[in-house]
Amino acid sequence: MDFELPPHVIEFRNTVKRIIRDVVTPEMIDEMHTSGTFTNHTLNRALAKEGLLERAVPGMGMGDPLELWVLFNELEKAGAPYDGISTSIMVAGVVQQVGTDEQKQAMIPTVVSGEALVCMGYSEPDYGSDVASIVTRAVRDGDEFVINGAKMWTTMAHEAKWLILLTRTDTEVPKHKGLTMFLLSMDTPGITVEPVHTMGTERTNATFYDNVRVPVSAVLGEINGGWRTMAVALAFERGVMGGTNVAVPMLRHFRKWAAKHIGDDGVALIDDTLVRERLARIAIDNEVAKLLTQRSAWIAASGGLPGLEGSMTKVFASEAYQKAVRWCQQMAGPAGLLQFHEPNAAADGWIEYDSRHSPVTTIYGGTSEINRNNIAERHLGLPKAR
């Protein structure tokens, strides 16, 4: 029972905090919400410049494994645009683990320098939770594969230099066993990107693959080993790269606003008994979400694979966040409906934004139902129920 970070990780955290303080301006956050693209080149480069991205890549051995969690936890708490680099660093870790030397040399330096982003093509229009059934085909043609199909939710595809793409290479075997992952450049001819706008402002994409030709050397991992490559990615992510403490900035934004929002009766909103109880419960859940995330980071740093722990954290944190958002928007009353830049908006519009953002958090990266299935079957040992 020692919850304190080791000194060198504290130093790492202080560096992250300093960079955030210096680089992440309200204007930067504003631009991210206006553009819908949750990445920022200035921030990425600033982190890269001090070697933080390199240290965070899993398996590179440059920093303490806890630093991956610390980096994204600080970025998340600050409300900074980090979606681009989180995916990129995770994929860099996958390439480090299963990629060829050629792939490593081509791709990793571009990511850890903060110059290049990576996007992921897993889900398809007809296959979301059931991703093992995807139908985008990659057909061998001599030394090449020819890829045809469509992907959904290819976030950052319009900014990324790299793409990892899950395809079906064998239709004659059980569905998990006929998948192959590719690492390719977004410049490859035949790729089209169409924006998909969301209620949370964030832009994602549909991507289309029309006779996209890649050399056999673009296979990431083994041919027909795509499911395994995806599992490596998931194991790296394990819920420690952001997404489990998003209620922290919301509580901070709300608290600051509620302290200066004086009702007609002269009482500050923060002093309302019904508000205080709910804020305390949000703070408790934030602490628990942090501890569950910290546990995954600790297990990973100790050489374990916190897969189910990540599922548990994700279910808890996303549902606690949604509850917290509902409470905050209700407590704010009409002010909780006003958007960024509107006078009198609760917490400068953050509450309204969180209310639009929160629904997706129990959907992406595995719905709560899929995660609960996994917990029931693999953690509790109950019979398979689907």
Binding site: W153, L274, R326, A332, P334, R356, P359, E369
Partner: protein, 351 residues
């Protein structure tokens, strides 16, 4: 005792279900964002008589009861029509009640709105319909007034794309009532607004359930429609309960409101769960349906998966209105505090 609709009400329901289903499609709703007002749809709804249908017949209106208006409100909610119909109906009834019925308001030619909060420093904060209404009814100190003034150019951007605006108490000002009568009239109108908003929220929730059922029966994952999984079914099974319960409660509030208007005072005995008090039922209906519609749209969006979050799907339109159309009044928890004051008496041991 008759808990369902009368034959007349069934006819009203059919007419407005048809009207809104045809005139206020999701495309129309979407096109009216972010301002939240479609002038053409308003003109069309005026042709149906809906804006003045709650005004007494002898004042030139349709003579509809609050119960009848609740039937319209549910269909209005089901289509999340981009017009401030409830606000106008409530305002028109207040005017008529104080002998100020105006043909242009009853017809809907002049759009009226009702300020949900008393004015502070000469301004009514976030009046629903306020960005488009030429006439604002509201409480200003101890006076209930109608103020005629030009609406602002635009609504502040808001969650539900509602035509909201802060409105000044300055303008061509008519005093409708003063003193206790003004406060009583304001309370009455606010209770009508809560009741009709509750019915609107029932419609939003019912439509969200309908959309969820469509989606989960057609979306196949793991070789089955996702609606065949108990994980989905158990969660969706709660929705019709809250919708039906919420509808009964909104209807009972409307019935109690009509009784009150007819001089039949309601009864309130919480210890015996015996309650026909309009103010209490209106508050209850507001709280219960604010929660119910928020939950129904949340679950429906969730079971749409990633598509539910995509702007091009319709459920997000409902999700946002389920929240905005209720919270424009207040936090349901604070409304519970006010209900407690009526149900359990004032807080006597607290200074």
């Amino acid at each position: 005792m008759r808990l369902g609709l009368t034959d007349d009400q069934l006819a009203i329901k059919e007419v407005f279900a048809g009207f809104f289903g045809k005139e206020s499609t999701p495309a129309v709703v979407r096109a009216a964002e972010p301002g939240g007002f479609d002038p053409k749809l308003w003109r069309r709804v005026c042709e149906t008589g809906a804006p003045g249908m709650g005004v007494a017949e002898d004042a030139g209106g349709g003579g509809a009861s609050l119960g009848d208006l609740a039937v319209v409100a549910e269909e209005f909610g089901r289509s999340i029509a981009p017009i401030p119909l409830i606000d106008h109906q409530v305002a028109a009834r207040v005017l008529a009640r104080f002998g100020g019925a105006r043909t242009d308001v009853t017809d809907g030619e002049t759009l009226a709105s009702f300020a949900l909060r008393p004015a502070v420093n000469g301004s009514w904060w976030l009046v629903p319909g306020g960005s488009v209404a030429g006439l604002t009814i509201g409480l200003d100190g101890d006076e209930l007034v109608a103020v005629e003034s030009a609406p602002p150019a635009a609504a502040p951007r808001n969650h539900a794309a509602q035509p909201l605006a802060d409105r000044s108490t300055a303008g061509a000002r008519t005093v409708l009532a003063s003193g206790d009568a003004a406060h009583a009239a304001f309370d009455r109108a606010l209770n009508e607004w809560k009741t009709l908003t509750a019915a609107t929220l029932v419609g939003i929730g019912a439509q969200a359930l309908h959309m969820a059922l469509d989606y989960v029966q057609s979306r196949i994952q793991f070789g089955k429609p996702i609606g065949a999984f108990q994980a989905v079914q158990q969660s969706l099974a709660d929705l019709p309960i809250a919708i039906d319960g919420g509808r009964l409660l909104a209807h009972k509030a409307a019935w109690a409101g009509d009784n009150e208007a007819a001089g039949v005072d309601g009864h309130l005995d919480i210890d015996d769960n015996d309650n026909s008090n309009f103010a209490v039922l209106a508050g209850m209906a507001f709280v219960f349906n604010a929660d119910g519609a928020a939950h129904a749209t949340d679950r429906s969006l969730h079971f749409h998966g990633g598509y539910g979050f995509a702007e091009e799907y319709d459920i997000q339109l409902f999700y946002r209105r389920a929240r905005g159309w209720a919270l424009v009044y207040d936090d349901p928890a604070r409304e519970c505090g006010r209900l407690a004051d009526t149900m359990f008496g004032p807080r006597e041991s607290v200074r």
